[in-house]
């Protein structure tokens, strides 16, 4: 241990232990200070680690720290070891930075909750797991963090366990994620089987010789890993748990289900980019699933009325963008969007939390309206985040989204159709986000009098994190301004270059030969059409609300389909859950009741004569014990005498 990396991971664990062991003994204030303070220390240490990394020459920017050898069986050895490279450096800064702000916000948000100690304990445990995940130097340790964040997610979704819906949502998240984890595990086994190591650097170095490009093995391995990613990052077909996960407290939605954990799948793909690029089929699947999820979730978000559900589907959609980027081998662009998205989506959720807080726990946007004069800070910061996610030129989301769209169009693995889907998604995003803003902050005040009398701006401990995130949502994208604008190299991509160099070598990709005019043109199309979407939202939800009703009446089918989220939950229920349920009833009735209980009740019959004798013998009578003992003596001595006799001759 000679770097700060282990400390970055350990401080949140310390916070967890203190808050968990002393739950109920510490004052609320102290709980919050310990919870946030430990994360702050991790953040400061992350900055130090980042600076240490920048001090190294560009192609040698790797700091690794092996704590100890975790396990070593013949031919299989895994270390508990951390790896800091440009990619994980970005991740720890985002995780601890945004994480710290959300912890501070939670002090205000959870101020009146009974279980605040438990809440901060889980939150800190989450930070510990997430940092383990991003700093791990091998697949197995990453998997440990991966399971850890899953566990914390489960605990925090079901935090208000007295609500049945919360417990159900927690269970759903848990079960869906198990499917993904199974894929991750199998993928990991295949990699180990072929490469003989799980260490990221070793795997990256040996992959070109261990696998054939486009071969079945590497395709299977990467597809399985991607299945793991779809579970954690809520992509088709495993996205269904994320909208339900909104049952958790809002800071949890911001931290886990928007900014950090759900991006773990993107991070995992970027981390194993050298493997993915060797399987073109997988890359295509990733790009298509990403694009499809982006569009699909955006259409659902159009007509949701629960403010957090809109944001949840928006998150699924934006994660789709990131996967689309990875699928066209623009891993840098994907990670860039991951970062900017962490800022503005965390801000949107925290803003929504502030609204819910002010509205006495109301989440239905139909009962809001006109809130801007009551909650000015929340309004302005959320507006900034909305502009960012809609891609207003000059603000963070614009640069990252534009980069993805351009890569989807121009990369060797890209296709104009992907660009087109991405562009449509961008329009839909602008529309539903401004719909949210208009319904919440403008127009008639539709809440009841009681709620109205309680309306207030949130305390400073909640608004200050909003302001900081708003600044980041504006400026956070400036480190990745494309070359097109000022002719200077894109700093962000340049920074990540060494990480993705092995993948690029496998792809033999050349600098894309597209005219700058094409790039300008595409950008102009997106921006113009987005403005149109904005105008449409303005007309529908502010100027002439009756048009919405009219439209809904003219196209009842479409509205029902979108409002009902394509009835995917119902379809899954019929096709998968019920048959499985049926199967498990079969297991229960037949296997459990008949077989296992049968074993227990009539154990002697099934286990056979030996067992019957054993149970008969286990009568409590000393004589029968001695009899069995003596039989054993006779057998063992007899066998040994025979053996000895054969030696003697």
């Amino acid at each position: 241990m000679n770097t700060v990396l282990p400390l970055i991971v350990l401080f949140p664990l310390v916070g967890f232990l203190i808050n968990f062991l002393l739950a109920g003994k510490l004052s609320r204030k102290l709980v919050g200070i310990i919870g946030s303070g430990t994360v702050l220390i991790s953040f400061l240490l992350s900055i130090k680690a980042f600076l240490d990394l920048t001090a190294l020459p560009a192609d040698a920017r790797i700091i690794s720290d092996t704590l100890y050898n975790w396990m070593a069986v013949e031919g299989f050895s895994v270390d508990v070891s951390f790896l800091l490279d440009p990619l994980s450096a970005i991740m720890i800064l985002v995780v601890t930075g945004v994480g710290f702000l959300i912890h501070v916000y939670s002090i205000g948000y959870m101020a009146h909750d009974e279980g605040v100690g438990r809440f901060f304990a889980y939150l800190n445990l989450f930070m510990f797991s997430m940092l383990t995940l991003v700093l791990a130097s091998n697949f197995l340790l990453m998997f440990v963090g991966w399971e850890g964040v899953g566990l914390c997610s489960y605990l925090l979704i079901g935090f208000w366990f007295e609500r049945d819906s919360a417990t159900e949502a927690g269970k759903k998240a848990f079960v869906v994620n198990r499917i993904g984890d199974f894929g991750f595990l199998l993928g990991m086994f295949i990699i180990f089987w072929n490469v003989g190591s799980l260490d990221f650097q070793t795997v990256t170095a040996l992959a070109p010789s261990a696998f054939a490009i486009g071969g079945t093995v590497i395709t299977a391995a990467t597809l399985l890993l991607f299945l793991g990613a779809t579970g954690k990052s809520a992509q088709i077909p495993l996205y269904v748990w994320l909208p339900d996960a909104m049952e958790g407290p809002t800071p949890v939605s911001a931290l886990i289900h928007a900014a950090t954990m759900v991006t773990a799948g993107v991070y995992m793909l970027a981390r194993s980019s050298a493997l993915f690029v060797m399987a073109p089929t997988t890359m295509m699947v990733v790009a298509v699933i990403g694009a499809a999820t982006a569009l699909f979730a955006a259409t659902i978000a159009l007509f949701q009325n629960d403010i957090k559900r809109v944001l949840a589907y928006s998150t699924v959609s934006q994660l789709g963008y990131m996967f689309m980027a990875c699928g066209v081998a623009a891993f840098g662009a994907g990670v860039f969007h991951l970062m900017t998205h962490a800022f503005f989506k965390a801000l949107l959720f925290l803003g929504a939390g502030s609204v819910i807080h002010g509205m006495s726990d109301e989440q239905d946007m139909r009962k809001m309206g006109g809130l801007k004069k009551y909650m000015p800070v929340t309004f302005i910061t959320m507006l900034i985040a909305t502009l960012a996610i809609s891609g207003l030129p000059g603000i963070s989301g614009f640069f990252s989204k534009d980069e993805i769209l351009w890569q989807a169009f121009s990369s060797d693995l890209g296709h104009p159709a992907l660009w087109f889907i991405g562009m449509i998604t961008a329009l839909l995003t602008t529309f539903y986000m401004f719909r949210l803003i208009f319904m919440t902050f403008f127009g008639k005040e539709r809440m009841d009098e009681k709620t109205k009398s309680h309306l207030h701006e949130s305390p400073k401990v909640m608004t200050i994190p909003l302001i900081v995130l708003a600044i980041l949502s504006i400026a956070g994208g400036w480190i990745g301004i494309p070359k097109l604008f000022f002719g200077a190299t894109n700093f962000f991509e340049h920074w990540l270059e060494p990480v993705f160099a092995p993948a690029q070598r496998i792809l033999h990709s050349s600098e894309a030969h597209h005219a700058a005019s094409t790039e300008w043109g595409l950008m102009a199309i997106t921006v113009t059409l987005s403005l149109g979407a904005f105008a449409l939202a303005l007309r529908f939800y502010l100027k002439k609300p009756e048009t919405v009703t009219r439209l809904r009446e003219s196209f009842p089918g479409v509205h029902r389909l979108l409002y009902g989220k394509y009835f995917i939950d119902e379809i899954y229920d019929r096709l998968i859950i019920r048959p499985l349920h049926f199967f498990s009833i079969f297991l229960w009735k037949i296997v459990d009741v008949l077989l296992i209980d049968g074993l227990i009740n009539g154990g002697a019959f099934l286990v056979g004569g030996v067992s019957r004798v054993m149970r008969y013998a286990q009568s409590g009578r000393l004589t029968s014990y001695v009899t069995v003992f003596t039989v054993g003596v006779a057998l063992i001595t007899g066998v040994m005498l025979l053996l000895g006799y054969s030696i003697g001759n």
Binding site: M71, V639, G644
Partner: protein
Amino acid sequence: MNLSGANIDFTLLLPEISLAICGFAILLLGVTKRGKDFGFGLGLFGLIAALAFTVQQWGTLETGFFGMVTKDGFSSLYNIIFLLAGIISLLIAQTYLRAKKIDKPEYYALVLFSILGMMVMASSYDLIIIFIGLEIMSIPLYVLAGFHRFNPKSNEAGIKYFIIGAFASGFLLYGIALVYGAGATTDLRLIAANYHSMAQQAPLLLYAGVALILIGFGFKVGAVPFHMWAPDVYQGAPTPVTAFFSVGPKAAGFAALMRILDFGFDSMDEIQSVLWILAVLTMAVGNILALFQDNIKRMLAYSSIAHAGYILVALTVGGEGAVASGLYYLLGYTFFNLGAFAILTILDTRDGTDSRFSELTGMASRHPFLATLLAIFMFSLAGFPPTAGFFGKLYIFSGAVEGGFIWLAIIGVMTSFVSVYYYLRVVVACFFTKADHPFQQVAMNPYLALALIITAVGALGLGLFPSSWIDLSRQAFASFL
């Protein structure tokens, strides 16, 4: 190998001496009215002092008292296991004994003497000394099993354990006599050196002798078919005593078996087939019969038989890697099994309890902390990562595969799959079963908390840092090669 030198060096025996002194002091003070209360403190002091001396001896390799006493890494590691088991079971005992109104100073003295015997067993190459150690260990155990004098079940446990124990000791001593007849020595170092000539001159005596020795220790570790006493004794004895039984004598039996089979009779390859059968029987019977129990103590009795089976797998394979994994497993087992028993003891301290599964319902909502710990211990017993139980099984079974005992590994893994069912029953009862009556509150105190902390840290620590512990076990094993 210098056997002629007397080397009367009492510092070698400092751990044993401190136990003996404290044990006698407890008995002497117990005569006076006020001295009765010193039992617990003195007992703990003696154990900790012995632990300190043992740790200090770590790394030495010395023989003394005419070659009768050997302190090496192997004996040190085992002594640490015995002393840890003693400390933990003492920490959980006092509250229980007071609640049941049997808090007598003799209890602590008996535990100390018993551990003294175990330490003697682990610290000698001489079969006679090992036998004497076994007797010093066993006689206090018979009394401890029946310590709850007014409880007929406890009395029954004591008597049963004593009669079968005496029976088994007879076989052991007879086995030693036969081996002496074959080679005119009871010193394992001489036996190992002259093994081939002994095997040629008197094969029948030698093989019969080893068979009987194996039976004698098979009884102590609870190997099938010499296990029949275990469920009755475990259930009848006071719970902290059961906790101690499940680890201490078992570990001592394995200490003797490892030294005898992997050093003294290392060249007797045929013994592997007998061990193979014993291991399979023990794993299968232990795990299958554990499924049928309604009483948690009885379930844990069968479970401890099954765990002895896993260690027998390591013994069957033999050699440095396998035996080191067996040692690692024993160390982990000390923590997680005692942890489970510690919680059981805490639960049994309440009135009107009988360690039934149904008594666990509602525990998670009343005592989430205890329930979580119990779940951790159950997961470790079942062998889930990242606990000590997982790595223990991983090392043992992967060792068996490497050693060519594929079928043994397959049977072992299959039986341990079966075990998941009954361990998870405990977790399900705690967390997921609706209670029809409120869970009866338990009282905690610092001693119990300390015992829980030690066991939980051990169970998880060995799982998080398995490599360093397995290295330690390897060093210990290497010291007698």
